[in-house]
């Protein structure tokens, strides 16, 4: 069994400039300025935080799974991981992590992928990509985000081990109530988050729960 490194943050909630709880099935869009710190807290345990990142000054350059994992030659996100855009530009760095590792291969659920993975009669079920679309639809900033801006994202608190044979497993979570991951923005970053409503696999332990989001100025 691989030993996971867990690192706490010195920041306390009282000093945060922003503190909100996002229920399961809801979304969140927020602009971080350089050096601001974002913390995502897994309030109830084993809740997938599907999160995309954009260079806020050039939103066409979005988070890239391959750029991020090939630069560190490791598929898991953890303390020290630099989240990169398609161009290779560093967007954020993970500066604290009490969970130990996070997935970025599993992407987000959608109505269509649910029909493929489980059953064609569950297209009605709520899903992350619908949450992303609604956030884009509501966004009134200067850039017209649309479906083309969606790309494979990060899945904080989700556990997707890969075997040496290349098989992908969706395992029970390794997170627990109160675990968190914390980032420093390396530039102006637009964060797009879906608190995953998936009920068909163990990514949320079949019980989607709230996430708490905090921001500090440094």
């Amino acid at each position: 069994m691989v030993q996971l490194k867990k690192t706490e943050s010195p920041r306390i909630a009282e000093n945060a400039i922003y503190d909100v709880v996002i229920p399961a099935g809801d979304g969140w869009m927020y602009r971080l300025e350089p050096n601001q710190v974002l913390r995502i807290v897994d309030v109830g345990g084993n809740q997938a935080a599907d999160t995309m990142f954009y260079d806020a000054e050039n939103p066409q350059d979005h988070y890239s799974v391959p750029a991020t994992i090939t630069a560190q030659s490791n598929i898991f996100l953890t303390l020290g991981s630099v989240l990169r855009a398609e161009s290779g530009k560093p967007l954020l760095t993970i500066i604290a992590d009490t969970c130990g590792r996070h997935d970025t291969l599993g992407g987000s659920c959608s109505a269509q992928s649910n029909t493929v993975r489980y059953s064609r009669d569950i297209e009605y079920m709520h899903n992350c990509r619908d949450t992303f679309m609604l956030q884009f639809a509501k966004y009134s900033g200067g850039y017209a985000y649309n479906k083309r801006d969606l790309a494979p994202n990060t899945d904080f608190f989700m556990n997707v081990p890969v075997t040496p044979q290349g098989e992908l497993e969706f395992a029970d979570g390794i997170s627990a109530p109160g675990y968190y991951v914390e980032f420093r923005a390396e530039c102006s970053v637009m964060v797009l988050l879906s608190n995953c409503p998936q009920l068909n696999n163990p990514c949320n332990a079949y019980n989607p729960t709230p996430l708490r989001l905090l921001v500090w100025n440094q």
Binding site: P66, E86, G107, V116, D149, V162
Partner: protein
Amino acid sequence: MNTIWKTTLRPGQKWSGHIGKEKLLRFTSLAAGANLAALFFNRFDFSEKYNMPDTMKAQHTMHLTKGDVLLSDNGRVLASIVEDSLGWHDTITGVTTREQTDMKYEKTDYQHMRNDWLRSGYENFMVELVKNGLEPRDMAPPVNLYSKVMCDEAGNMVYVKEHCQKGAMVILRTEMDVLLILSNTPNPLDPRSEYPSVPVDFEVLPAMPVDALDYCVNHRSENRRAFENTWDYYTLIG
């Protein structure tokens, strides 16, 4: 069956084009150590494109081979893999940027090297995206045909050097009308220091219509449902 069209992709070369459904795309590596990055879009709706996680999740695999399908972000089959002499094609390693290409091999430019300059996969894709009316936002993880990258228990990624031999062949079958973008450029995790890119033959042949007994359709129940989604799409278009 007869080849209806053929080209050879030189080391570093890019390509893009529209390809109708029910065509076989046969790729043959003319030397050892190929890496051919491929992006797929729905030809009639570029907002629908190849989706790496949806493809891996549905088939519980990150090594694409015969029987596997390349899924769009709308749960449909853009293309399936009908023959494969390698057993593993990567889809998590992306492409190299200009900075990585300059640093890893040598700094080259057109002014000094003319067409022998070393191309980067990222720039190749950017050019072909824009050429087809798309933008940087349309970039997403490609399939890296011919490459094998394994992971250990701790998640460390290891590029397998001897994976692609001369003559290695993979045949895809288009299940939708697609815009295909190719970049014949090195894999970002290939440790070789000499720009590792080799010529690849690309041939297109007609395919037999897919029926309910098809190998890829029956490879997994997920694949059948994705094919059903695809057939419904074309039924509604008419």
